[in-house]
Every structure is written in C-alpha cells, then in structure tokens.
C-alpha cells in the first residue's frame, strides 16, 4: 500500500513552498504599506519594515471621501450588475434548454457564436459611445460586462437541461401556469446552486473590472476602486489634486507617495481576501463548471 502513495512529507514540503510563492508577493505589499515613508525611500521595500508607521493609512483615512466614494461605486456596480446579469442570462438560457422550443438551435447558435467571433474593441467602443452614449455614466461600468459573452448562458442552459425535471414543468403547464410563471416560480428556485455559482463569478468580474472604467469613464466621481487604483499608479498626486480628496486636516501631513500606493493596494485587496474562505467552494465549483463540455 505504501508504494502506491507519494511521499507525503515531500508533497507537503512542495505545497508549503507553493503557498509561500503565492503569498509572499502579497506580504511585501502589506508590509510596505505599514512602513515609514522615509524608511521606504532609503531602505526600499522589505518584508519586515525597519520603521513601522501608520502614516499611509492615516492619510487614506483623512482623505477617505474619494476612497469611500469609489468603494460605493464598486459595490453598487457589482451588486446591480450581477443581479441584472444573472437574471437576463438565466431568462435567455431557460428557453434554450427546452427541447421542445421552436428555433432553439438557431438561438443557441446565436449565443454560441458570440464566443467565437466578436467585433473587437473599436466597434464595441463606437457602439457604446456613439449609439448608446454611455460614456461617463454609471451604465458604462455595468452594461459592457452584463453577459460578458455566451459563456454563462451556456452554463445555465446545461444546468437547466440536466437539473430541471421535464415532468415538473409539464405538470405545472397542465395546471394552467404560464411559461413565465413556471420559470420564476419553479425553475429559478430549483436552480439556486448554479445561480450562486455564476453570481459569484460575475461579481468577482465586476469587482475586479477596471477596463470599462478605463475606456469609458474620465470623471473621477464615477471611478470604481480599481479605476482609482489604476489612476494613482500613473498619477500618485491624484488623490491630492482631485477635489474629492482634499481636506483641511491633510495640509499638515506630508504626502506619503510610496507607502500610500501600497496602502491603497491593501485596501483594494482586503474585501476579496476576507470573503475568499467563505466562497472558495463555490468558486472552485464555478470554475469547473466552465470547463465542462456543453
């Protein structure tokens, strides 16, 4: 029996090394954010600061208006975008899962084809800016990522095909329930696991999205947290110059350029890291679902 097992000690050693490789980069950012600004300039980034300081966080705290504002934009976009996205994808996927649906193959193909071919950034950009004129609106952060592509729809379709017994739908129809009612009252409640999984993936996409903000938004008051971070990378003074961030309490504090960046990165990382242990299982399930043929 023993020969059939890999050496457990070697395995654990390997994975402890992997764990370090995954986490150490985060640790560097984390400890830099607690370093004194002068010490960061002279001693560089270290895993253990020679001089600890809360200066960067103090600064963030005082200029918190713009950060809190960006947080709320991110939160709003994530929640509303995910809810609407999941609703629309499942509504589109359900009829496609019904074997008796007329034109089912045509519509399925139309969904599937969006995964094979797309118009690319230029024409999409022109449609959204010239046709829908969503530039510098909250919709710019939400609409372009709503269904991403046919992918989630196809996952929903597979689930509905496998997980919803035909007899249940048919008997409800015989009892006089309309197809819409069947969908909302019977199909959706039976599909909570897949809704949770796709909702999770969708919300991670929204929370981490900076691309739509980068191309469609120039107004600072619509910046998501990611866009604020992105902007601060190229323009660290941004927090200082934007009128959202100015506060009289800051005038006396020296602007902590390097550590402030890292503190911002920590602030951006924290929500997902804290929530991660709770959703890890669903995430793993969601990622695997995506790889299943369907």
């Amino acid at each position: 029996m023993k020969s059939n097992q890999m050496n457990q000690k070697v395995l654990h050693l390997l994975f402890i090394l992997m764990t370090c490789a995954s986490l150490v980069p985060l640790l560097l950012v984390f400890s830099a954010s607690f370093t004194d600004e002068k010490s960061l300039v002279t001693n560089g980034y270290t895993f253990w600061p020679s001089e600890w300081s809360l200066g960067a966080y103090r600064y963030l705290f005082h200029s918190s208006t713009s950060i809190l504002h960006s947080y709320s934009i991110s939160l709003f976009v994530t929640i509303v975008g995910t809810a609407v996205g999941v609703l629309i994808s499942s509504m589109l996927a359900y009829p496609l899962s019904r074997k008796d649906m007329p034109l089912r193959n045509l519509f399925s193909f139309l969904v599937f084809f969006t995964m094979l071919f797309n118009g690319g950034l230029v024409t999409t950009y022109l449609v959204y800016t010239n046709l829908l004129e969503i530039k510098n609106t909250i919709w710019a952060l939400m609409i372009p990522g709503l269904l991403t592509n046919g992918f989630f729809i196809l996952i929903f379709r597979t689930f509905f095909t496998m997980g919803i017994p035909k007899e249940v739908v048919e008997s409800a129809y015989m009892d006089g329930a309309s197809e819409v009612k069947i969908f909302f009252r019977i199909v959706l409640p039976l599909s909570l696991p897949v809704i949770a999984t796709i909702g999770l993936m969708q919300s991670i996409n929204y929370w981490n999205d900076w691309f739509n903000g980068l191309i469609y938004v120039t107004k600072p008051n619509l910046f998501t947290l990611q866009n604020l971070l992105n902007r601060m990378m190229s323009d660290i003074q941004f927090l200082q110059t934007t009128n959202l961030g100015t506060s009289s309490a800051l005038s006396g504090i020296q602007f902590p350029t390097g550590t402030l960046r890292m503190a911002m990165a920590v602030v951006g990382l924290l929500p997902i890291m804290l929530a991660y242990p709770f959703f890890q299982r669903y995430l793993v399930k969601g990622l695997t679902l995506g790889a299943v043929k369907g």
Binding site: S22, Y45, L131
Partner: protein
C-alpha cells in the same frame, strides 16, 4: 406537406411566445453588445475621419490594412502575441496537470483543500493590484530586487521598466503565478472523476506511481486537456489585456517585448484616436481568431469526433 409544417410551427410559436418573451432582454443585449459591433467591423475598410458614427465614412478598401502591415508593428505584435500565448498554454497546461496530480495525492483532505485555496488566491486579484505588487519588486529606486536581492548577489541595479529584454520572463512568471491555481482546479476536477478501480487494478499488477500517472491519469483526463487546449489555441490571438497593459505600467520603452495586438488596438484607439489603424488590427485579430478556432476544432474532430467542441 410544407403548408402543414408551417401551420404546426405557427401553432407551436403561439404556445411558446412566453418563452420568446423571456429571451428578449438577453437577445437584445447580444445584438447591441455583439452583433452590431460585428457588422460595424466593416469600418476597417473605411476612412473614419470623415464620419461621426459607426456606419458613416467613405469606403477605402484595404488602405487601413496596408498602413498596418507596412509598419513593423504588425509583425512585432503578432510575434509577441503568439509567443506569449503559446508559452502560457504550455506552461499552464503542464503545471496545471502536475499540481492537480500532486493535490490529488495529498492524503489529508483539509490540507489539499487549503493548498488549493492558497494557490488559487492570486487568480482573484485584479491586474491593477498585480501591477502594484510587481512594482514593489521592480521599482528602480527602492524595489525589493534592486535594493536587496541584486546587491546581495553583487550585481548592478537594473532599470526594469526601461529594459525590454527581461519582460518575457517577468510576464511569464506573473502569468504563471496568477493562473496556476486555475489550471490545477480544472484538471483536479477531471482527475477526481476517474474511477478508483483503475488504480486498484494497476496496483495489483504492481504498477508504480509514475506508471499509473502515465498510463491511467493522463489518458483519462485527455478529453479535458484537449478541450482546454482547443479553447486556448482558438484564443491565441487574444491576450490578457491587463497583464500586458497594467503590469509593464504601459511603459513605452518596453513595447518591443510587451506590445500585443490587444494593447496595440487599445493604444491606437484611445491614445492616438486612430480608428482606421485600430479597427484594421482588430479585424485582423477577430478573423484569424475565428479561423484558428475552426481549424483546431476541425483537426480534433478528424482525430476523435467525441472530443471536438462542435
């Protein structure tokens, strides 16, 4: 007969109109977000300067493409895109399979789940923050490498964000760090699905671990490997925009080794406002991308029909 078919389908349509209703928002979205831009792709054959919206402008034939392919840009971005994504496909597949097998061997369930969770963590971090992390290591004045590692090795400091030659390695490391957990999750799911009887029989026959991996595990997860490879080869012309835009901090001197089709299209459109050039590059990407998916799927279909995607 035809008449009859038509009438029954009309009756069926009536019963199913509610289901059609459910599809309206989603289909409307796909039309706006996907199909109109697909038609709009024709602007690659137009002089956009004279028009203000998607369907305006004078036809100029292949002029935009001529401009694109006359410069060395087209060659550089194509080469970079193919080499990077090719390397990523190989690295992610090989390492993904290796770590899936290792994870599967960890006997303690708690630990295998814990390890999986940790190596998957970088996958959740947005590229903006990844760029911050990389900068903490590579910053010229006080980054960890220049301040601590290189002096320790007695080497000169390096201007990381100005020297293109290091970036293929940097980007490969960053990409592997970020996506190795994802790959191992996918392959682990396939490995868990393998019937344990195969292994029990192999052990009775005295097969070593290595033989079991080579003769049982790999062949049985081959369908998953094939599908994932088709999907990634089909997308080999598309890059992870964030990796190539955020991580090198959009640095100009790095472009010879960090510019890919996606960053080129973005820069031409947003920074330079050159719709003609960027749409030509975008169309080039979309068409070659489509051909690649169809081609890889065709090859797989020829070898083994069951493993093809469509």
């Amino acid at each position: 007969m035809k008449q009859h078919n038509f009438r029954t389908s009309l009756r069926r349509l009536k019963r199913y109109q509610m289901l059609f209703l459910l599809m309206v928002p989603g289909m409307a979205y796909l039309i706006i977000n996907n199909y109109i831009p697909m038609i709009g792709i024709l602007i690659a054959f137009k002089d956009y300067g004279s028009a203000t919206w998607l369907f305006g402008g004078d036809w100029v034939g292949f002029k935009n493409f001529e401009f694109l392919f006359k410069t060395s840009d087209a060659w550089v971005i194509t080469r970079n895109t193919l080499l990077y994504n090719g390397a990523f496909i190989v690295l992610n597949t090989v390492l993904g399979i290796a770590f899936a097998i290792f994870l599967n061997e960890v006997r303690h369930r708690f630990f295998s789940r814990f390890y999986q969770g940790v190596i998957l963590m970088p996958f959740l971090i947005s590229m903006v923050i990844v760029a911050y992390i990389v900068m903490a290591f590579l910053n010229v004045e006080n980054g960890y490498l220049n301040k601590h590692i290189l002096p320790m090795l007695g080497m000169e400091t390096i201007n990381w964000y100005g020297e293109p030659k290091y970036w293929p390695y940097i980007l490969m490391i960053v990409n592997t760090w970020k996506s190795i957990g994802y790959g191992s999750v996918l392959f682990l799911a396939a490995i868990i699905g393998i019937d344990s009887e195969y292994y029990e029989a192999a052990v009775l026959d005295g097969a070593t671990k290595w033989q079991q991996i080579r003769k049982i595990t790999i062949p049985l997860i081959m369908p998953t490997i094939t599908i994932l490879t088709i999907l990634s080869v089909g997308r080999i012309f598309y890059s992870d925009f964030g990796l190539f835009y955020q991580v090198p901090l959009n640095s100009g001197p790095l472009q010879p080794t960090t510019d890919v089709i996606d960053t080129y299209v973005y820069r031409s459109l947003i920074t330079l406002g050159d719709v003609g050039m960027s749409s030509a590059a975008g169309l080039y990407q979309s068409v070659v991308g489509l051909v690649l998916v169809l081609f890889t799927n065709y090859i797989v279909r020829k070898k083994d029909k069951d493993q093809a995607i469509f």
